[in-house]
Structures are given as structure tokens and as C-alpha cells.
Amino acid sequence: MTCEPTGLCQGKGLLTLKEGAWANNPLAIQVLGICSALAVTNRLENSLVMGAALIFVCVGSNLLVSLLRKVTPYRFRMIAEVSIIATFVILFDQFLRAFYWDMSKQLGPYVGLIITNCIVMGRAEAFALQNPPVLSIVDGIANGLGYAVVLAIIGFFRELLGAGEILGREIPGFSSWYTPNQLMILAPGAFFALGIVIGIFNWIKGPEPQENK
């Protein structure tokens, strides 16, 4: 795992980026971290903030885990990872409370629940423990981005169909005749939306991920 001096690790960074954000999308392909994906996507705004939170935590924890990977005893790595992740989550939570109190109220416990988000833990365990810091940052960005994009897609359609609005604003030519379907805002709509999005990802990717079902 040596890093070449030129470019972002000689295209290795790009490969990692592609792998994380598309081919192994944490949400749609590996189906990790779906709790928050379902809970906060009732509005597009919430989804975007949550996506940003995850990118921040994922990058931060990946970087720190990677920097400490040589000095962390194997037996204690889990508790070390959890403490690192919790530290970044507390940072983000305090930031939201200080500057965006309304948003913090709306997201409720789900910011804190990033600690138990399998994506962050999974990347720290599977990638950052074995790779140098720069590559780990790229991996953090890629996975955070992959998560954020899928979150934004789901949030977009749920707000569009459930409230007839986007980012709390009416859409000319649409909101006037569309009757909002409350179901999309409520819990069942979240399950339907995520199920359909994963189905579509599988369909685009072709049948092979189904084999180990």
C-alpha cells in the first residue's frame, strides 16, 4: 500500500472514490446505515444536512483511525474506533446546536445515532485500519458522498410527492394541481422509497449482486 508521489496516489485515489461512491455504494448496494436514511429523508433539507454530517464524521474518523492504525492494539481497536467516531459526532452535534438550533431539533436523536451508523464503523474497520491517511480521507469522502447522494434522491422524491414542495418552496406549474400524498412523509413511504431505490440500483447494476442472497 505505498503511495506514489504524483497525483492522488497514482489513480488509486480515483479508484477508491469510484468504488465507494458508486460500485460499492454503502446505502444502495451494501445496504448499510439505512436507519438514518429512512428517518431523516422526509424533507430534502434534512437529507442534505444529514449527508453533510456523515461526510464530516466519515472523513474525520477515517483520518484519525488511519493515523493511529500503527499504535492501536488489535484487541482494543473497536473501542478506539467507537470513541473516535463518537468524538466527531459530538463535535457536529454541538455545531448544529450552536448555529442551527431548529435543524438540530428536527433531526432529534438521529445525529447522535451516527455513532451506530454501520457505514462509518465499517469504513474505519475495513479500510482505514489498513490504508495510509490520504487514501483514507478519499475513502471517507467517497462513502460519505455515496450516502449523501442516495439520501438526497430519496429526500427529493419524498418531499416532492409527500408535500408537493422542494426545500419548503412551491414549484410553479406543479404545486398548484398536485394533491400531496401524506403517506410519503409518514413511515411507510420511507420504506417504499428506499425499497424502490435499492431495486433500481440493482437493476442498473445487473443481476450479479443477487447471487449470495
Binding site: A86, G112, T116, N117, F192, G195
Partner: protein, 196 residues
């Protein structure tokens, strides 16, 4: 809020405010471990037990240690440490007394640590400002509600193996959509009792 009896909160946590179907917590193990009714029943029991014990412990720690010392912002890290330690304890216990269940649950027992439902329940009792008995009722109800939901889905998925589902939707996506229907069914309980 503070007058609601613990019994009402217990019922509401199972039916109207099911932690899985309305708050979406604990989805990871819910999807991955719902293939068989027996496994899911074991996991449901384990989660219920861990949830009630950790809500009680976290309630006591929050109100008698964190608040007096003024370090409330450390609640996440303290709660997760309590949960991790307790799950470790349960794991050793199950391994000693029921090796069969231990092997059936496999990786999912340690994964209870990162089951968001457990941490979520602890956070909810703080955010909603429950009293001690309300917290006990909520912890027990949320655990049972989670177990009920996963057993229901396991039953449905066992039947679903024989149905003809379009290829891209097999596995997780269809489970998700079935859960949506389940959530819709549970919405029928709305108005029976209400908390929050």
C-alpha cells in the same frame, strides 16, 4: 408529558410508536436477521433484554452523574460505552448457557452494540424527559415492539420465498417494501394511545 403513566407508554411503544416501524431504528439487523422465525425470536429476546437494562442504567447515569457534573454533552460516548460493556456481558452469558442460540445468532450478538434501536431508546428517554418508571415502561415496550416487528417480517419472508418476485427486487428491496406495508398496518393503531 410527565403525567402519562408508565403503562400507557409501554403500550404506545409497542403499537403506536413502534421503534422500528415509526422511528426506523435497528434496521440493519432487522433486514439481515429476519430470514428465520426462530433466529429472529432469539435476537428479539436479546434486544429486549439489553434495551430494558441499558435504558435503566443510562437513565441513572444521566440523571445522577452527568447532570450534576455538568458534562451532558458527553452523553453519546458514555451511553455507547455502557451499551458495549453490557452487550459483552450478555454475550458471555449466552455463550455459557445456550451455545445453540449463540451459534444461531453468530455475528449479530456483538452487533447489538451498534444496533441503533438500543442507543436510540436511551436517547429518546432523555429527549422526551421521561421519569424513571416511564423510562422502564418505554425500554420494555420498545424492546418488545422491535421483537414483534422482526418476528412478523421473518414469517412473511419465509412465505415470500415461494413467490415470483422481479429479479432486481429480490432480497432486500422486497423486504423493505413489505416492511412498508407492515408499517401501514401498524398505523391502524394510531389514536389508540399517543405519546410524544
Amino acid at each position: 408529558m410527565s403525567e402519562t403513566s408508565a403503562w400507557v407508554i409501554f403500550i404506545a411503544a409497542i403499537f403506536t410508536n413502534n421503534i422500528l416501524l415509526t422511528n426506523f431504528l435497528g434496521m440493519c439487523s432487522f433486514i439481515a436477521c429476519s430470514g428465520q422465525i426462530k433466529t429472529s425470536l432469539g435476537l428479539g429476546t436479546a434486544v429486549t433484554f439489553v434495551m430494558i437494562m441499558t435504558t435503566i442504567m443510562n437513565y441513572i447515569i444521566y440523571h445522577f452523574i452527568l447532570v450534576p457534573l455538568g458534562i451532558v454533552h458527553l452523553q453519546f460516548i458514555v451511553f455507547i460505552a455502557v451499551i458495549a460493556a453490557f452487550v459483552q456481558f450478555v454475550e458471555m452469558f449466552v455463550e455459557r448457557f445456550s451455545p445453540k442460540l449463540y451459534f444461531a445468532l453468530g455475528i449479530f450478538l456483538p452487533l447489538i452494540t451498534v444496533n441503533c434501536a438500543i442507543l436510540g431508546a436511551s436517547l429518546f428517554i432523555i429527549i422526551r424527559k421521561y421519569s424513571f418508571f416511564q423510562s422502564v415502561g418505554f425500554g420494555l415496550g420498545a424492546g418488545i415492539g422491535w421483537a414483534v416487528a422482526i418476528v412478523l417480517l421473518a414469517g412473511l419472508r419465509q412465505k415470500m420465498r415461494y413467490s415470483n418476485i422481479p429479479e432486481p427486487f429480490q432480497g432486500v428491496p422486497i423486504a423493505m417494501i413489505v416492511t412498508g406495508v407492515l408499517a401501514m398496518a401498524f398505523m391502524g393503531f394510531a389514536g389508540m394511545v399517543s405519546i410524544q
